[in-house]
């Protein structure tokens, strides 16, 4: 019972670290009008996938967290890149990410429901080309409106193989270690057999 309690306690205190769905690294910290925003996104993005962008909105004066704003993300592709229709994803479309507007740019509504940390607003944004994207964020609450431009550099896709390199390098390393082990064992046994007759 004591062990179970210890494991449970360890699990509970570990839980905050596991809840890393939102956040990532800070992309922008800026104050515009009545809002002060901090934008987070994962440190690594791939052009093929959806990138989770999340944002903390605070009142500029008091620092109180704003929970009732309307937020939209509009990604603009790098210069010279034309973005095609959204790719079908392995993940089914999430609730709360409708396409807005008809300007060719796809806007995504960010909501607190989509964020694991309910103080943040989050939405998956499709960044399907390499280059320097611009993410335009519109925050509105009542008559208050603010616009933020966030540079989001999308580096060349590191590739699935690159992401799997620890797993892919394991077999050759293990095989090499095993070969060395066998060689050492054989050598040691050979030495011993020279000293004493083999049983």
């Amino acid at each position: 019972m004591l062990r179970l309690c210890l494991v449970l306690a360890l699990f509970i205190v570990s839980a905050p670290r596991l809840a890393n769905g939102d956040g990532g690294i800070i992309r922008l910290r800026e104050t515009q009008g009545p809002f002060s925003v901090t934008v987070f996104s994962p440190p690594e993005r791939t052009p093929e996938g959806l990138t989770d962008v999340s944002m903390l909105i605070q009142e500029a004066g008091t620092g109180n967290v704003v929970l009732d704003a309307a937020v939209s993300f509009t990604p603009s592709p790098p210069r010279g890149i034309t973005v095609g229709p959204p790719q079908a994803s392995c993940c089914r479309p999430r609730a709360g990410m409708p396409l807005l507007g008809g300007t060719g740019k796809r806007s995504v509504r960010a909501t607190r429901e989509q964020a694991s940390n309910k103080l943040l607003y989050a939405a998956p944004v499709e960044l399907n080309a390499t280059g320097n994207w611009q993410l335009q964020i519109l925050v509105s609450r009542g008559a208050d409106l603010a616009r933020f431009d966030v540079p989001l550099p999308v580096t060349a896709n590191s590739g699935k193989l690159a992401r799997l390199w620890p797993l892919l390098s394991f077999p050759p390393l293990a095989a090499a270690a095993f070969a060395l082990n066998q060689w050492l064992r054989f050598r040691s046994l050979q030495k011993r057999s020279l000293v004493q007759p083999i049983v």
Partner: protein, 739 residues
Amino acid sequence: MLWLAIASPLDAFSGLLLSAHMVQHLLLLAASPPLILLGAPLLPLLRGLPRKLARDGVGPFLTWPALRRVGNFLTHPVSCWIAMAVSLCIWHLPAVFDLALRSSAWHKLEHACFFGASLLFWWPVVRPFPSRPQWPSWSTPLYLLAADLLNTALSAILTFSDHVFYPTYLAAPRLFGTTALSDQTCAGVIMWVPGSLAYLVPAAFIAIQYLSEGHQLVRPQKMISKCNQNSFPFVVHRAALLHRFFHKSTSLSVLLSPSRRAASGGARGRFDLLSVPMIGRFLRAHSSRRLMQGVFFIMALAVIADGLFGPQVSSANLAGVLPWTYWRAFVIIALLSAGNFFCMACPFMLFRELGRRLGLRKQSWPKALRSKWCAVVLFSLFFWAYEVFSLWDRPIWTAWLIIIYFLAALVIDARFSGASFCKYLCPIGQFNFVASLLSPLEVKIRDPDVCARCQTHDCLLGNERHRGCEMELHLPRKSGNLDCTFCLDCVRACPHENIGVLAVAPGMDIVRDPQRASVGRLSRRLDIAVLALVFVFAAFANAALMVTPIARWRDHMAAELSLSSTHPLTSALFLALFLVLLILVGGSVLAGRAIAGIEDPIRGMISRFSFALIPLATAMWTAHYLFHFLLGWDSAVPVFQRVFGDFGWAFGGQSHFSLAGPVISMEHLWGLQTALLDVGLLATLYLGWRISRVYASGLHSAFAVMVPWAGVAVLLYTFGVWICLQPMEMRGMPAPISY
């Protein structure tokens, strides 16, 4: 401490506050490493390993003089101090520190550097058992003071600077009303005061201990010889312990005979599933098998009915979802985690019982067909038909396949005695038999002495209350799971209760080649070897033909050749791939045999090396089936809702073909699939190595035998990884999704 540093919420704050980041680094640099080393982890870790692994796996490395020299160099106080100093200085450079803040990979590397360098730094201070001190004790306080000087210099720069060094913190949201500069000052103070204490307190403690009465000056090179119980209580003991531990008498002849365990046969002390309360009782009960078969029979009837009369959309039909998304995944998981439990619950065997009851089973299976060649043909046909006729996408064909299966089982088992259908024909059974060579459980005798005294052989022949093994497996000579359907008839028949479902080393049965009951020697069974190769081939072909690049190439070729259907091309591809595999495996074994100058029969060698590919193939099957299962784990729900809706039962509401989504992200799935293939490849290589040692006594000749064949295994592994990373058709899933 380590958890606090890298896994607690402190880590989340490190991106916002330099002071939190500094606490994190301090824990990594000055708290967790010395505590870990004070725990003297080497010997407990070694003792925690299985003895054989510690002695034969780790031991040779620990006693390798070259590695010891490297270890001595690395743990020399000068190397350790430099490692720590370089790590500390480089990672505090603004550009590098900022890089770590921007990239999680660099951040992890930074932590790994700090932790690794710190382990080295504290090594000469703590001198964990059973290490040997390289400098005398009086030098340790000086060593710590030198480190403190560096720490003081760095922390002073941070504390007294009038500008922020790390721009990321300027952009970070401010917490607790601090500014970035005050946060940096606070970080500098943390590094300075607690950081210095971490060096100065041990320095003072060691100095006091050194200067205290009774301490003798000992020169390092004479420490071992002059040590006594008071000064170095463990050092002498260490040498004796390690010597005993790693130099346990293992003779060359013992090492060179990999099948030495096969000779001993006992099973006492092993885990026995039948001894587990409730589970054991359930499995022993005669009605339990009937119950499981009944459940599967009802499900088969449901699949047939829906396949014949339901909508002909695989994702909306029980015949499209249950067999191809769920059943295959559960079978492979059961095989790898326990044993051949599907054959135990096989509904097709209910007809054997019917035939027995009707008294029609009078003929024996023809002697000419008493091999696996028929099974090889049917096994190949099954996979060929699956691909060519897209069984996964045609519920009605799936239904007819199950009907034909039932009819075949009825015709064969109603006429022929024994378990002829299972043993010589059933493709599903053959799949399970081959994969179950890797199962961790085996129906096996508990005590060979009891069987030696047994005169009645009820396990094979049966008795008036229970029948014996219909697969003709005489348990004392049974080795491995080949041909075992886990029916447990032998368990019930044995009057001595000497048969259990025992834990065995998965896959090791492939290395051994004893005279097996009913099967004989694997090296002499080319039919079973070809069956294994079909299993290997189908694992890769079945997955390859569903990935988009190959499917597109096939369609393109069909268009180029003006073919109205892709069936001929799929068939040709199927045949070509199998021939390529046969040539590769046969050729590589022949090449290895020629290089090593071995004169053993070719047939036996090819057979045995073919079996060694089973782990890799099973890994591929598992990766493939788990792909479908994990991405479509909830796909049965709307289908059942639809079925209930068809009967007018609003059970669970309207069918809704867009449910919760995959249970795992694609990135994690790729990781899982690659990890499975890694394990499969390593297991295959290990088994291949063990088999090579059977044929080649010398190390070099064993390598020579192994290398060409290992090349084929690596080629298959590479192909498998490539397949897993390609876009795939989602068979039997709610929607034809690609990614």
